[in-house]
Symmetry: C2
């Protein structure tokens, strides 16, 4: 299969972790988000939403939206599972992942930051305040839910990494990149450290990708 | 089961449609979003993210994030299904739903509009331009994906409404409420009309809820 992503895109980062955990190989094609390559006619034909990532299956089907790609991957490559089997437990893992994918990430992605700087004319201080507000609010919600669930084990929902960890680690990376201090969120920080110690997470880091630019 | 929502919350609206399609009854508790009732200690204990909706199962489990609630509902009440059975088809329905839940809705919800008006001091013209930008961009992506898939039948993915339609209809309602013209999006508009003609969608409309305020 073919994977179209970008080293710094946090939704691409999620997929890379999952491919590594599943042991699934793929052909990588970099789409230079910062140069607007996702707006090309070729990419638009693949994904009219013009956002990364896109996965092209061996049958030539173009899949988009990282959470949908991750669920497809889990359904077609069940081992190791990214979700538990009990419906309530699945709902909790999905909801935690959606705090990140639906409530934090959309407010900090490139198109929104471009609008803040361009159309709204915000200076970098105001952009940073915007980023800090949603990153902190969202990751505090993650911390609150982790405390409420109180799972044993080093990962979000127990002894093995899954969908929640796959979403959390790239979000913590973004917080660090944007200079948002979250060291007081001790569970989030400990889980991030536990994940980073795994080779599947380490190899998926943006700095390890072929299209990385400092 | 117990459902905590708000008449105008579009993620609550999604759940109401699904409950109606599944024929599942529930006890409704209104959480007055505009008055900040979701920030109360009682609600925060249920959902540390302090966002609506929350579903409390008969076993007392509090579920949050509408897409996670909808997947739980589909797994525990499989008829009629909200998702197709083929993994690629499931991924396409989920991705379409996530265009709305991950890329449109988070940019127009109350906490973000409050930040635009408050912290950023935007006037209503600038707020409306913000809303129009993301609503149009997102719904145009929906239109593009509907054209690409070219399903027969009146709904997003064929002859029966499912997760995609459940997400689309409340988003079209929001566009209308915010005065964003999308009449040129002919497939989106036709699907919305086909859904509104069904009693399960009609009964879920914000104006039909017990906590409705004009």
């Amino acid at each position: 299969m073919q994977f179209l992503g970008y080293f710094r895109s946090s939704s691409s980062y999620r997929c890379r972790i999952a491919f590594n955990l599943k042991g699934v190989g793929y052909q990588f094609q970099s789409v230079h988000l910062k140069n607007g390559a996702q707006k090309s006619p070729e990419f638009t034909e693949l994904n009219p939403q013009r956002l990364l990532p896109v996965l092209i299956t061996d049958e030539g089907e173009a899949l988009y939206q990282s959470l949908a790609i991750l669920e497809w991957l889990d359904e077609t490559h069940p081992t190791p599972p990214l979700l538990p089997s009990d419906p309530v437990a699945r709902a909790k893992v999905r909801a935690f992942s959606q705090i990140i994918a639906c409530e934090i990430h959309p407010l900090q992605n490139l198109r929104v930051l471009s609008y803040l700087r361009g159309e709204l004319g915000l200076d970098e201080g105001a952009v940073n305040a915007w980023l800090a507000r949603w990153l902190r609010e969202g990751l505090e919600a993650c911390e609150g839910h982790l405390a409420k669930e109180a799972h044993e084990g080093p990962f979000c929902f127990g002894n093995a990494p899954g969908l929640a960890d796959i979403c959390l680690v790239p979000q913590v990376f973004s917080a660090q990149r944007f200079g948002v201090d979250i060291t007081d969120l001790t569970r989030v920080s400990a889980i991030n450290a536990a994940c980073q110690a795994l080779p599947e997470f380490a190899a998926a880091h943006p700095a390890k990708q072929p299209d990385f630019e400092a």
